[in-house]
Symmetry: C2
Subunit: 321 residues, 2 copies
C-alpha cells in the first residue's frame, strides 16, 4: 500500500492549539487539539505536541509520508520563522518556533500568522483555487487579513503585511489595544460590534433587549439572534459594522484590485446581516472602474477547520515553490 | 561595432508624448517629444511617432538592436494592452494601443499606466533597485501610484490596481472628478494643495499673499515659494497636505508593509515642506510594529525623465520574465 504524501497543519491559539494531517487535496486524516497553556516554554510544548501527533497517527493504523509542518500563530513571521511578541500567548518575547518544530519533527517547518494561513487555505483548498488576486478577512475577536496578489501572499518587507485590522477608519475614533485610535477592528470584529451596540444604546431611544444586558455579559452571537428577531439596535449595529467594513474594503480594492474578498469567522456567519450593508457601502465607495466587479463572498471553508487547513496549505505552497 | 540592446520607452500624456531609447543600464540614447494632440486617430499618431523615432535614430548615426516598446499612458491596462476611456486623451473609448504599436514597430509592445511605469522605472533604474516591496506615489495634477510586492508590480485582477489617489481620506469630503468625495488626490496633488490654500484663506485670518490671487490664477509652485518666504497660509497648506498623505500612507503600509515609499512629481520637489509633515503623520498612524522602519524617500529619478525611463523599464522587466 502506498503511503499518502501529507503535511501537518498546526494552528496555535492563545487557549487551544489545533492540528491535523492534510493531503494535497485537503483530505484530513487526523484532527485534534490540545491546550496551549500547559507549558511555560515553547520547546516543552512542541515536544508534547510531537508525542500527541505521533500517538494520533499510530491510532489511525496508517502510514504517512510526512512532507513538512505548516504553522499558523498570532504574530507568526514567515521570513524569520519566529513568533514575535504575541500578546495572547504565554511564551513571551521572540520564540524561534519554526526552528524548534523543525528540530523536534525532523522535517521542514514554516510559519505565518493565522490570517495569512487562512488566505492560503482558501487558495489551496477553498473557493480561491483559481484566483491570483484576492483578500481574506478573518473576523474573530479582532480583524485579521491576508492579501494575495499575482498568486502569492503579500508578506511585505518585514513579514507583517496584511494588517487591515489596523487601518484607521475614523480619525480619533475608538481606542484600540494596539495604541492607536479608530482602527477598523475596533468597529468590525466580535468585540467591535459589541462596542457599537453600546454606542447605539446611548444614541438611540428605541427599545432593545440589550438595555438589560451589561457590556461584559453581552455575547456577540446574541446580536445576530436579536437582529433576526427584529431588535432595532441589533439591526442598526450590523448596518453600522457593514458600512465601516465596506468603506474600508473599497480602499483595499484601490490598492490591489482583487477578484474577490472573502469573509471568515464569527461575524461572517451572520450572513445577510453583515454581507448586505458591507456590499452596499463597498460599492458606493469604489472608483467607477471597480464597481460591480469585486465578489464579496463567505469563505469556502466556513464549515471546515480553516485554521488547520490554512496552516497545512502554507506548507503545501512552500513545497510547490 | 556591436549594436547595443535597447528598448523604446514612450510616455503618452494628454498634451505631449515623450519618448527615448534606453539600454538596460538606463543610458538614454535618444530623448524627444511630440504633440499628442495632432492626430484624431491613435493609428495615425503611432505611424507619425514611428517616423519621428526612426528619424531620431538615424540622426544618431548609430545602429541599435531594438528589443521592444514599453508604453506608459493614462488608463493603460497591462493585461489587455488597451487604453480604456482616458479622460485626458483625444482618442475616445477603448484603444488597442499595444497592438497598434506592435503592428507599426514590428517588435513586442507592452502598456501600463504612467504611475505603474514610474514604479518600474524606480525598480529597474532608480533607488528601488534592490527592493522587492515598495510603493511609488506620483504627485502631479492628481495622485497616481504603483505598488510593488514580492518583486512584482501589483496589477490586480483587472489591471487597475494601485489607485491610491482614490482612497477616501475624508468621508463626505472634497468633490473628486471620479464621482466620489474625499479622495486622497483632492487633497494631495498640485490641484489638491491649491484647494487647501483656498480652504485656509476662509478658515484663518492671518495675512497671506494669496488673499490677492484668484483660484484660477494660483500656480501650485507659488505655494512652495510662499512657504519659503514664511507665508503662514502656504506653510499650513503643506502641513495639512502632508498630514493627509501621511495618514493615508500609514493605511497603505498596513496593506503591503513596504521597505520604502517614494514620492515623485511637483509636490515631491517641495522637499521638507512635504516630507516632514508626511513622515510625522505616517509615523503617528502606524501600528507599532511598523514604526521607524518605512523609508519615505524622494524618487531616485527626480532629475531624470522618469516617465520615459519607467516605460522603458516596463519593457525590460517584460524581457526578463
Amino acid at each position: 500500500m502506498t503511503q499518502p504524501d501529507v503535511v501537518i497543519g498546526i494552528d496555535i491559539g492563545g487557549t487551544f492549539t489545533k492540528y491535523g494531517i492534510v493531503d494535497r487535496l485537503g483530505n484530513m486524516y487526523v484532527e485534534d487539539s490540545v491546550s496551549t497553556e500547559a507549558y511555560e516554554k515553547a520547546e516543552d510544548f512542541i515536544a508534547f505536541l510531537y508525542r500527541k501527533i505521533t500517538e494520533d497517527i499510530n491510532k489511525t493504523g496508517k502510514a504517512f509520508n510526512l512532507k513538512g509542518v505548516g504553522i499558523g500563530a498570532p504574530n507568526g513571521n514567515y521570513y524569520t520563522g519566529k513568533i514575535e511578541f504575541a500578546p495572547n500567548l504565554k511564551w513571551k518575547g521572540v520564540v524561534e518556533l519554526a526552528k524548534i518544530v523543525n528540530g523536534q519533527f525532523g522535517i521542514p517547518a514554516v510559519l505565518t500568522n493565522d490570517a495569512n494561513a487562512a488566505a492560503l487555505g482558501e487558495m489551496i483548498f477553498g473557493d480561491a483555487r483559481n484566483m491570483k488576486d484576492f483578500v481574506m478577512i478573518t473576523l474573530g475577536t479582532g480583524l485579521g487579513s491576508g492579501i494575495v496578489a499575482n498568486g502569492n501572499l503579500i508578506y511585505g518587507h518585514d513579514g507583517f503585511a496584511g494588517e487591515l485590522g489596523h487601518v484607521v477608519v475614523t480619525v480619533g475614533g475608538r481606542q484600540c489595544a494596539c495604541s492607536k485610535r479608530g482602527c477598523l477592528e475596533t468597529y468590525v470584529s466580535a468585540n467591535g460590534i459589541k462596542r457599537t451596540v453600546f454606542k447605539l444604546l446611548g444614541e438611540e431611544i428605541v427599545p432593545s433587549r440589550f438595555r438589560d444586558v451589561t457590556f461584559n455579559e453581552l455575547e456577540p452571537k446574541d446580536i445576530t439572534r436579536a437582529a433576526e428577531e427584529g431588535d432595532p439596535i441589533a439591526i442598526r449595529a450590523y448596518e453600522y459594522t457593514g458600512e465601516l467594513l465596506g468603506r474600508s474594503l473599497a480602499n483595499t480594492v484601490a490598492h490591489t484590485s482583487p477578484e474577490a474578498i472573502f469573509l471568515f469567522g464569527g461575524l461572517a456567519l451572520a450572513g445577510k446581516w453583515i454581507f448586505e450593508p458591507t456590499k452596499k457601502a463597498m460599492e458606493e465607495n469604489l472608483l467607477p472602474i471597480f464597481r460591480n466587479k469585486i465578489k464579496l463572498l463567505p469563505s469556502g471553508l466556513l464549515d471546515k477547520n480553516i485554521a488547520v487547513m490554512g496552516s497545512a496549505a502554507l506548507m503545501w505552497k512552500e513545497l510547490e515553490k
